[in-house]
Structure formats: structure tokens, C-alpha cells
Symmetry: C2
């Protein structure tokens, strides 16, 4: 059973109330707390030793990664992060310096995005260090970007370069907070998600939530240098295109907006974020399914990205 | 190093911003999100197999306990819980029925307090099941109850009966949400905390935050039946009074208010919550320190409750 299937099974029974605009199933929960003109965004995410980092990962990078993952989810809604709480699971013989370094990495990132760290719980976790972050944010009600708004005819865009994140970028990535807010302010973005489980999987989340399909252009998919190098180094590695389609933890923005806006978008993005590539990688179609087109034609794409518990 | 000492060391470096009314150091963080007349309360709490429950604890009780702990913290501020997020760490060979039962226990409690469960993350935790809950709540700005408001001359009150919670109550306790809201609406409560680490320790948190002392009346301390039975069953057990002073996980309300209100409080409470004892267990003093008075006189109280990592 995948995490998706497990959650799908649990969802119908979850307690709810009138405040819930979007519950489980998007990057963040979207809540009406009565804040004039705004929704509140609410997200938790955890990283576990041996899964999301190793015992010898520099502790500051663990703290950075744990918060950055949540920030990336707030970014994917077009939101602004505001406050975080930290739960740190520690073996009984933990070193103070290690804990301080984890917090230093987390704090530095929090300060950069004006996010207050309003508490830290520690809990004994004898076998493995873990770090769970709960994050609040706000978003203008009219600018809140969901997975469910993609429309046939939309262009499909992705920031950055994909694949090979586990070579190192997954510990250092910069969440696309500023880029996402710029998008929400300046464009009629129809749908957005952050790439955590791989382009092929996360795009399917948009397609499913929106009831549409998509056609990807093979040559337009931006492949990271790390994915190319990994493929060259070992013959058993994924080919670079497959890595870009299926590797997890890219934490880039995947979004759709009307194709007629593409030129203005690409020009404006380049001027605002010269260090961050933006690629138009395909389009949304009315017929369901995910198709990959190259010079030989179009074929249905069956590969999936990373899936928890599989 | 205790958890308190660790957090005290980390606190000065935490990122902050203008929204923070109370950061780390009270039962919940208190936030100004711009909600007219209200603060937002934010809390996370985790329970870990082998520490807060055992491998054979009924799963519904694990779910109940995990959420109830957070609800108890919102209660201690006089607040109303609103939304929760759940992070569930699971071994790779988890049973679906067990997960569903954990959620069922949590959900049933959430529904009772009109709290929406707005998402659930699962994460692989190979050695131990754990459950971390992030909870939001709201509280009227003028009714928000902190640890720091105790005043010399206040009466000191505690709900329920103390000690022996680990005999079973820690898995089934009802958070004192309704009682706390009634207190906040009807009385000038000066300070409040929920008892998680034992009366002696948690009272010290109020005293330290408020810059005052307290005198406890030994014969007024309500000792639970479980604590008495445990003491009788084994000669190596804590004496009942010591259990009531130092056992963790009571999750009762400890609060102070002007002594002149005591009669009105005790009468009103009895009428509103006939099933829940309320005891006046002493008073707040201007001289610092914690004193226990019995028929032989007063002595300084040195025992401490449960301390994490000690």
C-alpha cells in the first residue's frame, strides 16, 4: 500500500468543521480562521534519519531541509510562511553541539523568510534522529493556488532543473517562496504543486485533481547536471530523462497558466529570477492521461516517481 | 541535561517576527495573525512507542492520547481547538487495521471538540510507531491565560485527582477544554498550566514565570485512587502524596485566581462539572520558593516531577 492509498483510505473518516477550505490532498491545508481577505495555510512534514538524511549528514543541513520542505509547500500555494514549531526526536546520548547545529540551519532559513520559530519540543527517539516541522502561513484568498485548477490549453511550466537531487541538492535547496509569490501576484496561475515525489507523479496529482490530461515535450524537460553526471558515472543509474521524470525531492514549482501568457511569463521570470531557469515543458489537454512527445511521436507515460512505502 | 535546559539553551537563537505574542515557554505559542479580537494558539506534541505507550497499547488509545495532550495545552490557555494535522511514523510492515484504529481514536476525540483533522502525513519509522500532532486554536485576546500572571494572595486550584496516571488514565483522559473555557469566561484567572510533568514541576513553571512563590496544603492535595492502590500494592512504590506531587501525565488544570473568588468558584464549578473534583490546594506567596504545609509545620518542597532526558 502506498502512502497515497493509505491516506485515501483514512480520509473519509476525518473530523471536519466549517473552517476547512481544503483539507488533506493539497500541499497545505487551507483554513478560514476569520482573517479578513486571507486564508491560513497549515502544513507538517518530517524527516527521518536513514531515509531523508544519513547519520553523517551535517546537522545544519538537516535543520535546513526539514524547514525548507514545509516552506516549499507553502510556496506551492502562493503563500507567505509566518510561524513554525519544531519537534526533534533525539537518541538518549545526543550531543548538544549537534542539536544546536540542527537548529542553526533551521533558524537561518526561517529568518530569511521572516518565519518565527515559536517553540521546540524534544522527544526521546532511541534509534534515530528525526525532525518534524509544523508551519503556518497566510495567503490572499483570491491568490491561493491549488492543484485542482488546471485547464485544457494551459501551458505547463517548471522551475529549476530536475533529477539527481539526492546527490546533494535535497539538503540545500532554496524553497521557491519568492518565485511563487511573484507568480501569484502577476499571473493568472491555474494550478501549482511543488515537486517532492518526482515530476511524473506530482504532475499526475494536478491532472487528477483538475480532471485533465497533459502532454510533455521530451526535449523541453530541464535535466539537472547531477542527473546527467550520475547517469554517466554508473551504467546502472537511471538515464537522465528518467531521473528528471521520477527522482524525488526536486522541490521545484510545477504550475499551469493560460498558454497565451507564456511569453510574458518567461520574459518576466528571466528579469526577476535570472539565476533560476524556467521551462515550458508541455501543455494541459482535455483528454485524460499523461503523454510524452518526442521526435518519434507521442507515447503514454507509465513511469512513476518515488512512492512512500512501496 | 533536561529538556528544559536544552530548550533554554536554544531559545535565544530562535527566529522571531512581529506576530509572536508568546513564543516557546508556555503551553502553546500565542500568535497575532490579525484575527480581530483573537489570538491564534499553536502547539505540537508527539508520543513515542516505548515511552508514551507500549507495543501492546490498544491503537485507538494511542490516537486519543496524542490528540488529547495537545487539546490539554490549548485548554490551559483558555482556548478553543480548531484544526489538527497528524504525522504518523510507522514500521514498514504496519497493519492497516492498526493505523485505522489509531485514527479512529484520534478522530472521535477531535469530533467531540469540533476540531478538524485537516491532513495526515505518514513516514517510515522502522523501529517504533510514533504520532505527532500539530494543533491550532483560538482564544479571545483578553481571556488568554498564561503561566506568568500568578499574584501573591491568589488561591491555587487543581482539577481532578493527581498521581498514578500511568496505571491507565494517561491513555484515556478527557482534556479539560470545557472546564478551562468556563473558567476563562467566568473568573479572573491569573495563571494556568496543564499538569504534564507533575504538580511539583509544573507549579514551579508558574512560580518562575510569575516571579512568586507558593504554599501547598498537604491535606488538600487530591490524591487519585490509582496512586493509593499502587502504593498499597508494592512497598517499593511512591507513597501516594509523593505520587500526586511528582507523577507525570495528569493533564489536569492548575490555576490561580484571587482568593476572594474561591467560594464562588468552588460552588459554580460543582454545579457545572459535578463529575470533576476541584480542590483549593494552597496559595501564592510573595516570597519565592515552594513550601508544603502539614500539621507539623511548613517545609521547603524539593521533590520534582518527571523530567525528560534526566
Amino acid at each position: 500500500m502506498t502512502e497515497q492509498e493509505l491516506i485515501a483510505r483514512l480520509l473519509p473518516g476525518l473530523a471536519t468543521n466549517a473552517s476547512v477550505r481544503v483539507g488533506a490532498g493539497d500541499d497545505c491545508a487551507v483554513l478560514d480562521l476569520g482573517l479578513p481577505g486571507q486564508w491560513v495555510l497549515f502544513k507538517t512534514d518530517a524527516v527521518m534519519e536513514g531515509i531523508h538524511f544519513t547519520p553523517d549528514t551535517e546537522p545544519a543541513r538537516i535543520g535546513h531541509k526539514a524547514l525548507a520542505r514545509c516552506l516549499s509547500d507553502v510556496a506551492a500555494m502562493g503563500g507567505r510562511p509566518t510561524q513554525a514549531l519544531v519537534t526533534l526526536g533525539l537518541p538518549r546520548d545526543f550531543e548538544i553541539a549537534r542539536v544546536e547545529a540542527i537548529y542553526a540551519g533551521l533558524n537561518q532559513l526561517a529568518a530569511r523568510y521572516d518565519t518565527a520559530v515559536v517553540g521546540g519540543e524534544t522527544i526521546a527517539s532511541p534509534e534515530r534522529t528525526f525532525l518534524s516541522v509544523a508551519l503556518l502561513g497566510t495567503v490572499e484568498r483570491e491568490k491561493c493556488l491549488l492543484r485542482s485548477g488546471a485547464q485544457s490549453g494551459d501551458g505547463l511550466f517548471v522551475s529549476g532543473q530536475l533529477g539527481g537531487s539526492l546527490q546533494g541538492r535535497h539538503l540545500d535547496f532554496e524553497p521557491r517562496i519568492r518565485e511563487a509569490q511573484w507568480l501569484a501576484q502577476n499571473f493568472e496561475v491555474h494550478s501549482m504543486i511543488d515537486l517532492s515525489d518526482g515530476l511524473a507523479t506530482d504532475l499526475r496529482h494536478i491532472l487528477k485533481a483538475s480532471g485533465v490530461g497533459a502532454e510533455l515535450l521530451e526535449r523541453a524537460i530541464p535535466i539537472s547536471r547531477a542527473a546527467r553526471l550520475a547517469a554517466r558515472a554508473e551504467s546502472s543509474s537511471k538515464p537522465p530523462l528518467l531521473a528528471a521524470l521520477t527522482d524525488g525531492e526536486d522541490f521545484e514549482l510545477l504550475f499551469t497558466l493560460p498558454a497565451r501568457e507564456a511569453v510574458r511569463l518567461l520574459d518576466g521570470w528571466k528579469a526577476s529570477f535570472p539565476g533560476v531557469p524556467l521551462s515550458c515543458i508541455g501543455r494541459i489537454t482535455s483528454s485524460p492521461g499523461l503523454v510524452l512527445r518526442n521526435e518519434n511521436g507521442a507515447r503514454s507515460l507509465n513511469v512513476h516517481g518515488f512512492s512512500h512505502f512501496s
